[in-house]
């Protein structure tokens, strides 16, 4: 009993990564170790480059030079800043809660690292290879882990990341950080719902939680961005920006209102950790968007099955797609003004959540219709009609409650 249970547990843990399905030997361990180290170092490097890239692009758009002193084109500026932060004095406010104050940066940083574990970064998805590569004679996927829960790990980690920001604000024992963290929490919890519902549309098409299977299903340009009809992608991107607390949703650290937001009281390396987590999250979120909607590392490999076709070309495609979304986030920051807080909440609750739920139901209706052999046009029209009726009711109720609120609040203004 025990031995069968164990083998099942081990089999389930890897889901479908062939690396861990057989005997777990020393080579297996070595492969896992290599993957972890490569992912860790790669992520850190990408953050260093991302910070530099963002500063350079924004500087260009504002007619400045940006960092240009440390290293060629200022490439080492981030490293210099990091070194500076490490050697700065570590301050803690007198009214801070010491334990939670020290814990919060770690709670912010660790989820940011862990999410990347499920992102496939290379491996050929053509010629029936299904993303399997061979390292040291071991067959495996080019991602740190492929757990059975797959993409749910991303949701779990993004919900845990809230703790870092929330506790940082509270533990500082200061007003503005607390206000910033309360804003952040409300915003992130609200947008997580829209994020999850947009994700559900992708899972409906993919039929699996595993990121490897999701990417595999998109091979040959059957990308989810058009397989799900664009709407989930748009909603996911907006919700992801809000989840990252990046402009235009950076109310958390609105300088004009809240000094620095939740990390006002942090200095030295603890501040660097929040900064690192923010950029890690940006890179990871872009990678998740690429994985979910744009086929991850899948792309034309021109029939090559050697190392060029398995490692170089897929990674190139992945990196190219990733770069597009990193540019998108930088452009958001450079060009969009910040939302007002009530606008953020209205957008999340009254538009994104109903829209993503409605679109998901529409996809479900079409899916059931095609399974049952119904007339697809009639099914789609019926579903749209039902959803429009629902949307009408929703708009009506929002109008009614808004009118009521105005009726209550106006007399105070002396009209």
């Amino acid at each position: 009993m025990t031995s069968t249970l164990q083998s099942h547990v081990i089999a389930g843990m890897l889901a479908n990564d062939p690396l861990l399905s057989g005997e777990v030997g020393l080579t297996t361990l070595l492969v896992v170790l290599i993957k972890v180290v490569v992912a860790f170092v790669g992520l850190l490097l990408s953050v260093i480059l991302m910070v530099w890239f963002e500063r350079k692009v924004i500087a260009d758009m504002q007619n400045r030079f940006g960092p240009n002193r440390a290293g060629p084109f200022g490439l080492f500026q981030t490293i210099a800043d990091g070194m500076k932060l490490i050697f700065k004095e570590d301050l803690m406010p007198a009214r801070a809660d010491p334990f939670v104050f020290k814990l919060a940066p770690f709670l912010s940083l660790i989820p940011a690292f862990l999410t990347f574990a499920i992102v496939p970064i290379a491996g050929s998805f053509n010629d029936g290879l299904d993303g399997v590569v061979t390292i040291l004679g071991q067959q495996t996927f080019m991602q740190v882990a492929d757990p059975q829960i797959g993409i749910l790990l991303f949701l779990a980690m993004s919900s845990l990341a809230i703790y870092g920001i929330m506790l940082a604000g509270w533990a500082s024992g200061s007003k503005y950080p607390l206000l910033g963290s309360v804003r952040a929490t409300a915003q992130m919890v609200s947008y997580e719902a829209a994020l999850g519902l947009a994700l559900a549309s992708v899972l409906l098409i993919a039929g699996s939680l595993s990121t490897n299977a999701i990417v595999n299903g998109q091979a040959g340009f059957r990308w989810n961005v058009w397989m799900t009809g664009l709407v989930p992608f748009v909603i996911f991107t907006i919700a992801a920006t809000a989840e990252l607390n990046r402009p235009p949703f950076d109310l958390v650290e609105a300088e004009q209102e809240l000094v620095g937001g939740f990390h006002t009281e942090y200095s030295s390396f603890r501040f660097a950790m929040f900064f690192l987590a923010e950029f890690l999250n940006t890179v990871t979120m872009s990678a998740i968007i690429v994985t979910l909607f744009f086929g991850g590392p899948s792309g034309p490999t021109f029939g090559l099955t050697n190392w060029v076709g398995v490692y170089i070309l897929p990674f190139f495609w992945f990196f190219l797609k990733l770069l597009v979304f990193l540019c998108m986030f930088v452009l958001f920051r450079a060009t969009l003004p910040r939302f007002r807080y009530d606008q953020v909440m209205d957008l999340g609750w009254k538009l994104l959540i109903p829209a993503s739920l409605g679109w998901f139901l529409l996809l479900v209706a079409v899916r059931v219709g095609s399974d049952q052999g119904w007339n697809l046009v009639a099914t789609g029209l019926a579903a749209v009609a039902g959803l429009l009726a629902g949307a009408f009711l929703l708009i009506l109720s929002i109008r009614a409650s808004a009118a009521k609120r105005e009726a209550v609040s106006l007399p105070g203004e002396g009209t």
Binding site: A15, S159, L160, I162, L167, W170, L178, S181
Partner: protein, 226 residues
């Protein structure tokens, strides 16, 4: 030591320490954090039993949403201070709590010792743990076939709870006489107010300029005189 045993002992220690922290720590925020540690430990135990989906949901729903809301309420209400535990809010609360705690412990231990491995020994009850299909597929099949009514009734129950909470928390103020208030949205009304103010301002400025003209002339004449 076997890896499973090691994981179990570590996780069990985290769970127990977290539970003790929930009960013993004085600061509500620390209590909530200890609860997160316990929930996390339980999630790891679920994984050890092969219940991956349950573990993920445990983290997403309990640690990621419910405790966050606890913390949110604690922070917003400003009750994040050590509480005075000198006297019970309800008479006899403490003895009753001790009695209930002992009774629950006794029942659990009795169940565990008398029934034996059937309480904890079996790996899984319903979802086949043969590893051939992921948890979520097995769970979905069961939920949407054998237990579909229980599932739907549970969701209706949750909806009823939400509606009930909204109805109960609504303040019953005096009825609003809508006829008393002007038509239109706040934005329109504010705009109208703003326009009216602007017109008033213009009138004032006109009056002011009319007043100023002679003064200005006077100044120029004064300057001319100099």
């Amino acid at each position: 030591m076997r890896v499973e045993m090691f994981t179990f002992l570590l996780t069990a220690a985290i769970c127990l320490a977290g539970s003790a922290g929930v009960v013993l720590l004085r600061n509500p925020v620390h209590n909530a954090l200890s609860l997160v540690a316990t929930l996390f430990g339980v999630a790891v135990l679920f994984i050890q039993q092969g219940a991956y989906f349950l573990a993920a949901i445990q983290v997403i729903v309990y640690a990621g949403a419910i405790v966050i809301l606890f913390l949110f309420v604690i922070m917003l209400l400003g009750v994040d201070k050590a509480e005075g535990l000198d006297r019970d809010p309800i008479l006899g609360q403490r003895p009753a709590a001790i009695a209930a705690g002992v009774a629950i412990l006794g029942l659990s231990l009795t169940a565990l010792l008398s029934v034996g491995s059937r309480v904890t020994g079996q790996a899984s009850t319903l979802a086949a743990i043969d590893g051939s299909e992921p948890n979520i597929n097995a769970l979905a099949k069961v939920l949407f076939t054998d237990y579909v009514f229980a599932f739907e009734i549970t969701s209706v129950l949750l909806t009823v709870a939400v509606v009930g909470a909204v109805v109960l928390s609504r303040k019953a103020g005096p009825a609003i006489d809508v006829a008393e208030f002007p038509e239109g949205t706040t934005a329109d009304l504010l705009q109208a107010k703003y326009d009216a103010a602007a017109v008033e301002q213009e009138v004032l400025e006109e009056v002011a300029t009319e007043d100023e003209t002679p003064e200005g002339e006077a100044e120029t004449t004064e300057e001319a005189l100099r």
